[in-house]
């Protein structure tokens, strides 16, 4: 995409962008032109400084450190004097076709909500006002937690959190206790729905499955009497009120649904204390979508709600086939070499995705 056109468009957006970066002066920034990060160790004294920079020389990508430093721009990193870091999670779709990702974003969104509601709020007791959802600008979501109690957590503690959320090493068999009450009769005691952590979640998810899709556990539970008897028992922590044989093993289907597996651990976002993460509300240079801070997660739809909303239309010529996509309404499919006039944000999206060229 033509550099000048792009810079003008980005620059126009940055004039009015809402900047929400707590302690901006203590953060290290990194910018990217070709790669996500080409230069780091930058710093800005104030929101206005950052805005002036973005308006005058808008980069393709801009990230800030999850960490806070006394001297954010000094190198090497050891001299910055680390003062703590937000706990940030990166949830994304690992492998999917170029445009297939956008259909899958809905499931990542559900995972993000589950991570916040079930884990950060329920288990960890973090207040919702300290948690920010941010669309990554392309294939996932970032969750920023800005809670003082967690600021000083070191890398291994953060890794523990990620492992916990991903359920690595979870053995649900440990939730249960077997006791022979008389010859051949075994009482299986286990978690109750009101318990915290994975135990309670396990009980609640079992009950939910029994209501919504009982045959996943055992066909016998299609019978409502059998089901209700079992649920009644679970509520009291008694898991043996069923004639289903081998019930404990059958419950493995429940265990598989409890964790959030799409937390990106590969890039070490959560455990790396000096990680840079996309600045909320800035433009993602591969899509032209805003890495938007999301207020209403339930109804958020990236291709519509994260569009910059540049005015007017632009003409593009496609350089490859593109499937039908849902923005604020449906566009496409488009054929290679097809020329089309599209709303500016959508035209820029295809140009930055390298599926089309923009006519000047």
């Amino acid at each position: 995409m033509n550099k000048k056109i792009k810079e003008n468009l980005f620059s126009e957006y940055y004039k009015t962008m809402e900047i929400d970066i707590p302690s901006i002066e203590k953060r290290e920034f990194g910018i990217g032109i070709d790669k996500k990060i080409d230069a780091r160790h930058l710093s800005f004294k104030s929101k206005e400084d950052l805005r002036n920079y973005l308006v005058s020389t808008p980069p393709n990508f801009i990230s800030h450190s999850t960490g806070y430093y006394q001297f954010p721009s000094i190198t090497p990193i050891e001299k910055k004097v680390w003062m703590g870091a937000d706990v940030v999670f990166d949830l994304d779709i690992h492998s999917e076709t170029k445009y297939g990702v956008y259909q899958k974003l809905e499931s990542i969104k559900e995972d993000a909500i589950r991570l916040v509601e079930d884990f950060l709020v329920s288990d960890f007791g973090i207040s919702k006002k300290d948690i920010v959802y941010v669309f990554s600008g392309n294939r996932g979501y970032h969750i920023h937690t800005r809670n003082n109690d967690y600021l000083n957590l070191r890398s291994d503690g953060r890794r523990e959190i990620v492992d916990y959320i991903m359920g690595s090493g979870l053995n649900y068999n440990n939730f249960f206790d077997e006791q022979e009450i008389k010859r051949g009769v075994v009482k299986l005691t286990g978690p109750t729905p009101d318990e915290g952590g994975y135990r309670g979640r396990f009980a609640r998810e079992t009950i939910r499955l029994l209501h919504e899709d009982p045959s996943v556990i055992a066909r016998k539970f299609n019978d409502s009497a059998e089901r209700d008897k079992f649920i009644e028992g679970i509520n009291e922590g008694n898991w043996s009120r069923t004639s289903v044989k081998d019930i404990k093993n059958r419950l493995s289907v429940v265990a598989d649904r409890l964790s959030v597996s799409c937390v990106n651990t590969d890039a070490g976002v959560t455990q790396d204390l000096s990680k840079l993460i996309r600045v909320p509300n800035t433009i993602h240079g591969d899509t032209g979508l805003v890495a938007k801070k999301v207020e209403k997660m339930d109804s958020f739809y990236p291709l519509k709600d994260a569009a910059v909303g540049w005015k007017g239309e632009k003409t593009v010529t496609f350089t490859e086939d593109v499937p039908e996509l849902e923005f604020d309404s449906t566009y496409g499919p488009f054929k290679n070499k097809e020329t089309k006039s599209l709303p500016a944000s959508i035209a820029v999206f295809f140009a930055l995705r390298r599926s089309a060229t923009l006519s000047p």
Binding site: G125, D149, D156, G157, R159, D163, S168, G169, G196, G197
Partner: protein, 313 residues
């Protein structure tokens, strides 16, 4: 606390704010005796001796002992030798733990509060705030978060588990010694005495490590080099990996002598035992379960690294 109480408390827990205050109030100086005691303290630590309880009876003895901790810390801050600092940290944390085992509740609380290990107690179960728990729980499987109950930001622990958290907190505190750049001549002299007392340990042969290792093993080897304290599971994993790579028992023992709590007898036994049992290198998922996985290399088991499937891109 009464003055006598404060002094006794500080003998037992010389790393606390109370002890700092006692040092000021009693105007404790770096006398020759205090430095001499500090050297003894560090020697005991480095030689891996079991910490014993104080035998000081008179106030003057107690005061010297409190001072000796401060002087020892100054020495480690000046020497900046990882091995010495790590060993000193293990020694002091175990010493504190010894006292805590039979300590009166009020004093246990004071020490716990020192590190922010506040807790609500209910029927001898202590509810620890999650971030505090994560900072001070040892990295062993029974302390892994996934295996714990957790409720609204609190992790319930038993009394003895809380003592273990305090021990870990002490160890981490001692580990973070501020750098001392221009110490008094007595500290300088003591440092050189200490250095010469550590006989250079030479082993029959140089330890040669496998050249290409997966990130999890590489991380552990770096920890060993820095003389960091590793949990049993990590040591076991490292040993089994290296045995399978063909390393000899002597080399392994030599490598493990870098640990701050090294005991020749135990290490030799454990290494021989691991070899006798013929353990195979655990799978990546087991490594993950123990919290030792640091990457997603997709090799299935660490021993496949660089062999079967490609290296991490």
């Amino acid at each position: 606390m009464e003055e006598d109480g404060e002094i006794e408390f500080s003998v037992r827990y010389p790393f606390t704010q109370t002890a700092k205050r006692v040092i000021q109030d009693q105007n404790i100086q770096l006398s020759d005796r205090v430095v001499e005691l500090a050297v003894g303290r560090l020697k005991n630590a480095v030689q891996g001796k079991k910490p014993s309880k104080s035998t000081a009876i008179h106030k003057s003895q107690k005061i010297e002992e409190i001072g000796s901790y401060a002087a020892a810390r100054m020495l480690t801050g000046y020497m900046r030798n990882n091995y010495v600092t790590e060993r000193f940290a293990v020694y002091e944390s175990k010493r504190a733990r010894n006292y805590l085992e039979s300590e009166k509740q009020e004093w246990v609380e004071t020490v716990a509060n020192e590190f922010g290990i506040t807790s609500k107690e209910k029927e001898s179960i202590f509810e620890i705030p999650l971030p505090v728990y994560l900072n001070y729980s040892p990295r062993s499987i029974e302390y892994r978060l996934i295996n714990r109950k957790i409720d609204k930001g609190f992790v319930p622990v038993k009394k003895e588990e809380r003592r273990r958290l305090i021990e870990e907190a002490v160890r981490k505190h001692v580990l973070h010694t501020p750098i001392v750049k221009n110490p008094t001549s007595s500290i300088r002299k003591a440092a050189s005495i200490l250095r010469s007392s550590f006989t250079k340990v030479t082993y029959g042969k140089r330890i040669s490590l496998p050249r290409e290792n997966p990130p999890c093993i590489q991380k552990l080897l770096e920890s060993v080099k820095k003389h960091e304290n590793l949990p049993h599971s990590a040591r076991w994993f490292l040993a089994v990996y290296l045995i399978n790579k063909g390393m000899s028992n002597e080399s392994l023992v030599a490598l493990f002598s870098n640990f701050p709590d090294y005991s020749p007898k135990t290490t030799k036994y454990q290494v021989e035992h691991a070899r006798k049992r013929g353990y195979t290198v655990p799978s990546c998922s087991t490594v993950l379960t123990h919290g030792l996985c640091v990457s997603n290399c997709n090799v299935g088991t660490p021993s496949n690294w660089g062999r079967k499937r490609g290296k991490k891109k």
